[in-house]
Amino acid sequence: MTDNAFILQSSPHFRDKDSVPKIMYAVIASLVPAVAASLYFFRLKALALLLCCVAACLVTEALFLWLRRKPLHSLRDGSAVITGLLLAMTLPPSLSLELAIIGAVMAIAIGKQVFGGLGYNIFNPALVGRAFLQTAFPVAMTTWIPPVALKIQTATYATPLANLRFEDAIAKGTLTPLKDLFIGNVGGCLGETSSFALILGGLYLLSRRVIDWRIPLGILLSLTAFTGVFWLANPEKYASPLFHILAGGLLIGAFFMATDLITSPITPLGTWIYALGIGLVIGLIRLFGGFAEGVMYSILFMNAFVPLLNRYTRPRILGEGGKA
């Protein structure tokens, strides 16, 4: 044993075993139920979209890393795969593949790499990709097909939320039953239809402590409160909070999108404000906005507030304010 072999470092000398790739792979694992559900409900369409998005994300990421002369091994951290998966999960199953690829490229390029890559982005990359597609190709992004299991033969098929917002579903009595929403036997984006699968994945993430429990809770609370008030005031016109929770992209947003570590606040108070804000804006858009669904916009909107929240919600230091 020579003297020269000792390690020189600052304390602490013990390290927890969790690492960034492990966290990322936990997120991927948590998406398994939702992916499985999408494959069940939309079959090959879903498979093709998932593969295309993941591949396009990986290729774009690799291209940028190469251009910036950074080591390619950071591809293995799994973050690009998550972006691809999450993007695919929020696309309508009928979307053509080339559009999906455009979305995936945009997600990585302007959602992530322009900020410097992993850890530096301000906005959720998957949602940036989706918002780009939604704005670039609004018709394609709001054309839905029914899930295979439903065995309906119509070319277009409204999502439960569009049905509620634009077709006066409550008055006509055609509001989608909660049971279907829970199982996922409804129209909508690949991964958002099955509430059951999403809750399963979300619970796994919570148990692994990958995501902050405050975010899903805060979103659900404020959305429930907001929609609840209107529902109680006029159940003839407004759907129940439970419907709003189960329908559309709320659960995937609350468990997988808003909780994105990088783009959510790091302080507890900031996290609460962020989560409550998302729920509120979702409620506003769904009830009064021009879109049937507002999860994507509200998360992006609140993402923009995150640096501000982080800055102004510094926790009180132990002993701060006391007299020395």
Binding site: D3, N4, A5, F6, I7, L8, Q9, S10
Partner: protein, 268 residues
């Protein structure tokens, strides 16, 4: 009539506006010595703060007010000093060009590592865990000085030591501040002999950890006792001016190269 209305309107607006400006001009003008502007323009605008003021403009103000002298600016060259002195109407003292010199020759090869350093790659961070070198006085090789230099006058050589590019060095003193081991010092550019070591360990200890350490053998001080002494296990040049050029070869017989003139590889 149709033409008159707009003409009158515009005329009135013009009068109102110009009156406002006149009032503004007369009521709220702040007097500033035009010299400040002139001097500020002549300063190098490096805003390095070496003069002790918050940037060149603040320094210019101090100069005009007579609170400081142009010699406090180490960055200005002789020509600039002359011009500024002329503007200020004072004669400048002779300015000797100084440059920063590193007092260490502990290259990667010469100075032994103490272990595998796994930490932040800056000198001040490494210093916090005692440094990555067995020598506790020498260069840590992480280049805080290079990053601190506002003039790009420093670079890390392949041997692992920072090298001063004399032409670019303005003796602003940033590297002196940045080095956690205080290895830099400002010397007149003409200064020939320099002690390249700061180790005050006893000779045998120093020699064990670094090939180029001063081992306090005393050859140099015996060669030139009026200017060089050995104190605290280290050769110290007490008065540079007293070094007799003829004795330089004698001084350079240092067995560890810890004192002597700059060599080619130490220069830019």
């Amino acid at each position: 009539m149709e033409v008159l209305v707009p003409v009158i309107t515009m005329g009135v607006l013009g009068i109102l506006f110009s009156l406002g400006l006149v009032i503004a001009y007369r009521k709220l003008r702040v007097y500033e010595d035009p010299k400040i502007e002139q001097v500020a323009e002549l300063l190098p605008q490096a805003n390095c703060g070496a003069c002790g003021y918050a940037g060149c403009r603040a320094f210019a103000e101090a100069l005009v007010k007579g609170e400081s002298t142009i010699n406090s600016c180490p960055v200005s060259d002789a020509e600039g000093v002359k011009q500024i002195s002329a503007t200020l109407g004072v004669s400048a003292a002779e300015v000797v060009k100084k440059v920063a010199r590193l007092h260490c020759r502990g290259t990667h090869e010469a100075a032994k590592n103490s272990g595998t350093y796994l930490g932040i790659s800056t000198c001040d961070a490494a210093q916090l865990v005692g440094g990555n070198k067995q020598c506790s006085y020498g260069c840590l090789h992480f280049g805080d000085c290079v990053r601190a230099c506002p003039f790009d006058a420093l670079y890390m050589s392949e041997e692992g030591l920072p090298v001063v590019i004399e032409d670019k060095c303005t003796a602003c003193g940033k590297c002196v501040e940045a080095c956690p081991r205080n290895l830099f010092e400002l010397h007149p550019i003409s200064q020939g002999i320099i002690v390249f070591c700061r180790s005050v360990d006893r000779g045998p200890v120093s020699r064990k950890v670094c090939k180029n350490a001063c081992i306090a053998c005393g050859i140099c001080s015996r060669a030139c006792p009026e200017a060089i002494i050995i104190e605290n296990n280290l050769a110290i040049i007490t008065d540079y001016k007293k070094i007799d050029p003829e004795k330089i070869p004698e001084i350079e017989k240092c067995p560890t190269d810890a004192i002597g003139r700059l060599k080619k590889e130490d220069e830019g």
